[in-house]
């Protein structure tokens, strides 16, 4: 008794006891800031992530494939919305987040700055990119911030079909003609390393990770998640007769994990810095969509204002026409 605990100490004990933090709880400024940055980046990634796949909607090889791809892109839009709403519970505004994305101030996952060159890329994106995203998101279902955690549970439930449809595309191509199999292999070659980089810098080079783990925002380190992803994915590639483009990839009997080659972090940081193959194209597409949608938003606002004016002053209604 008589001991005084700072708010920070109490908060730390609260999250360590596996309690969920809710919008009305006291939280350290750094916790709030970290979450706003992480959740809004996550939301932006869902939204920008629609672009590489939208590229193939009109050229999908069958009506079935087209319906599936449409459904998937539609899901990504929904996931972006869940996440923006979760970020708004922390006191940031939707407009501010959108402005930050459109001005280039906010980041989104680097993976979406790579181009989708062939139909096989729709397979590789679903299998590898969504596979990596799912690994991260399954972990985030247990994040300490309640609204983020609940959004993640909903997203993970919906996301499962994304990876399966991607793998199905790869499986079909790998079983097809030699040209089709080569196309699948080429997509794997191009998407492997970028997907491995999706987990972020290695632990010894990821300064914010330690604090995030301490606050239970993250539950596993970048390297842990990356290793799990690689261990899982190698067998999936082997099963369809494709080879992972890493000559140093080798099963390590002792550790029970795959050893893998050096990651090209120069490339990773170059893409983050805005020098990836599609950075400016992606941002331009978002800006264009936002600007060209302005009249729809304006019209909806004007209509709502007119309706509420009529309701509050019905006598004027007849004169309005």
């Amino acid at each position: 008794m008589g001991e005084t605990h700072s708010l920070e100490d109490r908060f730390q004990a609260f999250v360590e006891a596996e309690n969920k933090v809710e919008p009305k709880h006291w939280m350290p400024d750094g916790y709030r800031k970290t979450l706003v940055r992480q959740i809004s980046q996550h939301a932006h990634s869902e939204v920008v992530g629609m672009l590489p796949e939208a590229n193939w909607i009109t050229r999908a090889p069958s009506l079935r494939a087209k319906l599936i791809l449409l459904a998937k892109v539609q899901d990504e839009a929904g996931h972006g919305l869940y996440l923006y709403s979760a970020a708004e519970t922390l006191g940031t505004s939707r407009d501010q987040m959108i402005d930050d994305l459109l001005s280039g101030k906010a980041k989104y996952s680097s993976i979406f700055n790579y181009p989708t060159l062939t139909w096989a890329d729709m397979g590789a994106v679903g299998w590898l990119v969504d596979g990596a995203a799912i690994a991260n998101q399954v972990m985030l279902c247990r994040t300490s911030y309640g609204p983020y955690s609940r959004a993640m549970v909903r997203i993970c439930k919906e996301e499962s079909f994304h990876q399966r449809q991607g793998y199905e595309i790869m499986m079909t191509l790998a079983k097809g003609s030699p040209e089709q199999k080569a196309m699948a292999q080429d997509a794997l070659n191009r998407w492997w390393w970028p997907s491995v980089m999706m987990f972020g810098p290695s632990d010894d080079n990821s300064p914010n990770s330690t604090q995030s783990m301490k606050w239970r925002i993250k539950r596993k380190s970048n390297d842990e998640l990356r290793q799990e992803y690689i261990d899982k994915t190698v067998a999936q590639a082997e099963f369809i007769g494709l080879s992972i483009p890493d000559p140093e990839l080798k099963w390590n009997e002792e550790t029970g994990h795959y050893d893998f080659g050096e990651i090209d972090w120069t490339e990773f940081f170059q893409v983050i810095a805005g020098n990836g193959p599609c950075n400016s194209e992606r941002l331009a597409a978002r800006q264009k969509a936002h600007n060209e949608g302005a009249w729809v938003r304006d019209a909806a606002t004007a209509y709502a204002a007119k309706q509420s004016a009529r309701q509050s002053n019905p006598s004027k209604q007849t004169h309005a026409a």
Binding site: N19, A71, R164, Q165, E168, Q236, F239
Partner: protein, 97 residues
């Protein structure tokens, strides 16, 4: 509210049953203001520790979909089986996906 009636407004009550879960609709009650609604909701809906947090919302603030429009509203998702993971045949050998 009928003219001259002193009936208090209706509030919808949402209760978070457990740490980490979302608030879920429990029922409604009448109360003169938000604060009283919250206190009454505590007594009416959480007498056996059913909750860790309560929301009260004026019933009139809720816009609900019309039961008559149920079909046109929800039918479009009925024929989109490809939105479900089970639509895809993935061999067991590759592990959970």
């Amino acid at each position: 509210m009928s003219q001259g009636s002193q009936q208090w407004p209706l509030w919808e009550v949402f209760v978070r049953s457990k740490n980490g879960l979302a608030h879920k609709h429990s029922g409604s009650l009448h109360a003169p203001d938000a604060e009283m609604a919250l206190k009454n909701a505590r007594d009416v809906y959480t007498r056996r520790s059913e909750g860790v947090s309560i929301w009260v919302i004026p019933s009139e603030a809720i816009t609900a979909s019309s039961p008559d429009e149920k079909d046109p509203l929800f039918a479009p998702s009925d024929d989109k089986v490809y939105r479900h993971p089970t639509f895809y045949d993935i061999p067991d050998e590759v592990g959970h996906m």
